[in-house]
């Protein structure tokens, strides 16, 4: 195997793979190095109990960019996205709430709680959909450089202006509100029933260490509506074979274009000489050289661990050190002997074939946050449950099921320090199962195997610093031309030939592929390779 490449990509998560595929497609000689035995990073499927395939970390696809699917021919390489049927919020007393693709059915469900909300709901959806459409160009563009005097750069801000200009008199103030308000307050302006607001408000706090009443959380609600702007592409759902299926389809595309991919290849150091990245050294002593090194890892790993502080000035280091991770989520994956039954809606109907939110009220969510603020995991957490085996039987043996539970809050910084997660992991898992057991009596007895991932595990096993699921909080001050640091949002870094392409760059986390694609676009445009 030749050891000199046009580009070495550190990390075989979906963004690293997307970047590799685009570069290889343009004929560049590319090598991807993944630390783990399996590709996918946080978009990974693993068979941790015989016959049961867990989507270990991420579990639904939201925003995988349609042009990436097309450009890389992903369906040909096995990508299949299956729809989520609905959003179900079970209750301990009463029937709970299910939001369906059918507007009439949803209206009827909501009107059990509020006739007014039932009618406002579609109007809200329309308003959000329009705003999401207006904002969409931003997620597909390389962020402009606000410090540049280059007129072309400044022209790009016009795109932003266009976005704002597209909004009408009613929408503009709404947009401004979204950027500043808390998701709970924003929803209060529209709705009155708690059972509706709670599951909607949570999309504002996923992956952040903030509560539904924390200011600035409202705009993330938009992301929830982004999936719909792509029309029939509707890249919102389960991936066939678990989320790892997405990463593997991208890997196959990259390989078909000629990229080389190595697993169990952990980068210890990015070699820098004369202010230029020249290659990488692996923990096992292997070395590879390249014209460019592209890291899909977060800034801490990339700059502080792999490069070393000496290559950066204080200003940059300051930004990198202040960049916030503050992981707040965990994951519990269960192998089930049989399908669980909800007390509030028994049966194996369509209501459990979508996403299920344990989010009975705004207060419940805020209380969960309160506990986490002081270094404890929530005693009654927000849990987002999916049972993909109902839609994709290939992930579990016949009649058996996998249940994926995304849990918040599980603060990285426990009162006793993050390392104490080693002692609290199983208690955390027990809390999650006990919470679910209240809604699904008998669940505990049906568990064949359980995997508990705390932020500590996400850091150790998945290379996500402080366990942040998005490689850094998706809060406004860490987005767009500020991600990961002001002046360095364009995939370049202060070290020549060293680039970034992961979720820590614009437009951020989630299975989007956009950072990887935009980084490749930028490098090709700058003739970096």
């Amino acid at each position: 195997m030749a050891t000199h490449y046009d580009a070495i990509i550190i990390g075989g998560g979906h963004n690293g793979l997307v970047c590799a595929a685009y570069l290889a497609k343009e004929g560049r000689k590319v090598l991807v190095l993944e630390r783990r035995y399996v590709l996918g990073g946080a978009a990974v499927t693993e068979e941790l109990y015989p016959g049961f395939h867990y989507s270990v970390c991420s579990y639904v696809v939201s925003l995988l960019r349609p042009h990436i699917i097309r450009d890389l021919g992903l369906p040909k390489h096995g990508l299949q996205i299956l729809p989520l049927e609905c959003s179900f919020t079970p209750h301990l007393d009463g029937p709970g709430l299910c939001r369906w693709p059918s507007a009439d059915k949803t209206r009827r469900e909501i009107s059990r709680y509020s006739k007014r909300d039932a009618e406002v709901y579609p109007r809200f959806g329309k308003a959000m959909g329009r705003m999401a459409r207006a904002v969409k160009p931003i997620i597909d563009m390389v962020p402009p450089d606000p410090t540049s005097l280059n007129p072309f750069e400044l022209m790009k801000f016009r795109t932003l202006g266009d976005v704002i200009r597209k909004l009408d008199d009613e929408e503009l103030p709404r947009f401004v509100k979204m950027m500043t308000m808390s998701s709970a307050d924003f929803l209060d302006e529209w709705f009155e029933s708690d059972i509706l607001k709670a599951p909607m408000a949570v999309s504002g706090i996923i992956g952040t260490f903030q509560g539904v009443r924390s200011p600035g959380t409202a705009y993330v609600l938009l992301h929830h509506y982004m999936g719909e702007i792509d029309g029939a592409f509707r890249a919102w759902g389960f991936s066939k074979g678990g989320t790892g299926g997405i990463s593997l389809s991208i890997a196959r595309a990259a390989q078909a274009f000629g990229a080389e991919i190595l697993t169990e290849a952990s980068v210890a150091e990015i070699t820098v000489s004369g202010g230029r990245a020249t290659g990488v050294a692996l923990t096992d002593g292997r070395e590879f050289t390249a014209k460019n090194v592209i890291s899909s890892c977060d800034p801490k790993l990339t700059f502080l661990d792999m490069c070393g502080e000496k290559h950066f000035d204080d200003d940059f280091l300051g930004h990198i050190k202040r960049y916030r991770y503050r992981g707040s989520s965990g994951k519990v994956n269960l192998a089930l002997d049989r399908l669980p039954q909800f007390t509030c809606r028994p049966g194996d109907g369509l209501h459990i074939r979508g996403d299920i939110a344990i989010a009975p009220s705004i207060d419940y969510l805020e209380t969960a946050y309160d506990e986490a603020k002081y270094g404890q995991f929530s005693r009654r957490p927000y849990i987002n449950v999916v049972i993909p085996s109902l839609t994709d039987p290939s992930v579990a043996p016949p009649g058996k099921h996998v249940m994926s539970c995304f849990v918040q809050y599980a603060p990285y910084d426990l009162r006793e320090g993050p390392a104490d997660w080693e002692n609290q992991r199983e208690a955390f898992g027990d809390t999650v199962v006990a919470t679910l057991e209240e809604y699904m009596p008998g669940l505990t007895d049906s568990i064949l195997h359980r995997q508990v991932l705390t932020p500590w595990d996400l850091e150790k096993d998945f290379g996500l610093s402080e366990g942040n699921i998005f490689q850094g909080e998706l809060s406004l001050e860490q987005l767009f031309f500020l991600r990961p640091a002001p002046g360095w949002a364009r995939y370049r870094t202060p070290v020549k030939g060293l680039w970034m392409c992961g979720s820590a760059t614009h437009p951020g986390g989630g299975i989007m592929g956009a950072p990887g694609a935009l980084a490749a676009e930028r490098m090709l445009k700058e003739r970096a390779l």
């Binding site: 369906p75 729809p83 049927e85 792509d230 029939a232 369509l350 994709d392 039987p393 290939s394």
Partner: protein
């Protein structure tokens, strides 16, 4: 008044959408819930169960049964082995297609034919001089299509045949769990791994219940015709009455088509004893066909752009469409699309079309008419080879 099939009681209980249509005089479900999406995915990811009773079915029996079928059909069935099924069509004297269907060989002198349109009269009219008896069993034999990647696992649970030994386009007599008899054919209209199960009407409900209970662990789901339609477009299967008009029903010569024009050339065997339409089809084979049946891959980016002009996201019907849409090459109209769909599995907007033979080679860029905000527009569509979707499991 259409009538219920023997499965009706079960279908009715499940069909919360009340979306029914008429299929050859029977009630058939379009989709069980609001949209066919879940049913479509059941076919592609697990298993879908579809009532196909309304298909016309004929038993053709007698010393001359094989000779007779070879005479009326485009293909000889003389070499069709016992336990095998073949796909074929039949034409009029001018080589224009009347119908397409399957022919199973059940015994030395015994065949069964399925058809989309009533064909008894046509068969009987041409049976003169052959020692053959043709029986219409449409109303006495019920059928269920069990289609999708887990269909084989389900079949294993419900009958006594060696399921792995049943190859693509095989047929086998079986006793189902519960003791009733019937046939299993490894056929279907979804382009996926799949089977069709046939029993006498009185066993229909037992078969349905058996499949639904044994299939549960394998994700079985009842499906309607809308989901089927998406699958059959992906698989490039023509549909009589939609993609072509039977010569019997055509009002003008232009409405008729030949098997070659429908991409059914593989069902025509020219060099053999006489058969109906032979001379015309031979002449066409020599001369070359005027039209070809192709797939169209409708440019999504261009579609998005057209809709963006109206400040709209691209919108497509939730189900497959069936309406004539003109196809152009430059300013010249070169054909028409009959049906199309958004393919969820390929993430492509696809259509089936008849176009002039000179623009039919894969890769040719044509234009197709679309409607955006009530206005007629054109977007590019690339000619694609059929089928669009062809998973190895279909034959494996």
């Amino acid at each position: 008044m259409p009538r219920p099939t023997p499965f009706h009681d079960r279908l009715q209980a499940l069909c919360t959408s009340y979306a029914w249509k008429h299929w050859s005089g029977y009630y058939a479900v379009c989709h069980f819930h609001e949209s066919p999406e879940r049913e479509y995915n059941a076919i592609r990811q697990a298993a879908g169960l579809l009532d196909v009773t309304p298909l016309f079915k004929y038993d053709v029996v007698g010393p001359d049964a094989g000779r007779f079928l070879s005479y009326v059909c485009s293909k000889s069935v003389a070499r069709l082995k016992r336990g095998r099924v073949t796909y074929l069509c039949w034409c009029d004297d001018d080589g224009n297609i009347l119908d397409d269907g399957t022919c199973w060989r059940l015994g030395k002198e015994s065949y069964r034919v399925t058809a989309a349109e009533p064909s008894l009269y046509w068969f009987e009219e041409h049976a003169e001089g052959f020692d053959v008896a043709i029986t219409d069993i449409t109303d006495t034999v019920a059928g269920l299509a069990l289609q999708g990647p887990t269909s084989r696992d389900i079949l294993r649970q419900v009958c006594d045949i060696d399921v792995d030994a049943l190859k693509f386009f095989g047929v086998k007599k079986t006793t189902f769990k519960g003791g009733f008899k019937g046939h299993v054919t490894r056929t279907g209209y979804t382009g996926d791994l799949g089977y069709e199960l046939w029993v006498r009407n009185k066993h229909a409900l037992a078969l349905w219940d058996l499949l639904m209970s044994e299939g549960k662990a394998f994700g079985i789901y009842p499906i309607g015709l809308d989901a089927l339609d998406i699958c059959r477009v992906e698989s490039g299967f023509v549909l009589a009455g939609v993609d072509y008009t039977s010569a019997h029903g055509a009002l003008t010569p232009a409405e008729k088509s030949t098997p070659f024009e429908l991409n059914l050339g593989q069902t025509v065997q020219l060099d053999r004893g006489p058969f109906i339409g032979q001379r015309a089809l031979k002449a066409e084979a020599e001369r070359g066909s005027e039209y070809a049946f192709v797939g169209l891959d409708i440019d999504w980016v261009a579609t998005e752009k057209v809709f963006a002009e109206y400040d709209l996201p691209p919108s497509l019907p939730a189900a497959a469409w069936r309406s004539l849409r003109p196809v152009y090459r430059g300013t010249r109209q070169v054909g028409r699309a009959y049906s199309g769909t958004w393919s969820p599995i390929l993430k492509k907007n696809i259509a089936l079309a008849t176009v002039r033979a000179d623009v039919a080679s894969p890769g040719t860029v044509l234009d197709i008419e679309i409607t955006a905000e009530y206005e007629r527009r054109r977007v590019p569509a690339v000619v694609s080879a059929l089928p669009f979707f062809d998973p190895p499991r279909k034959r494996a």
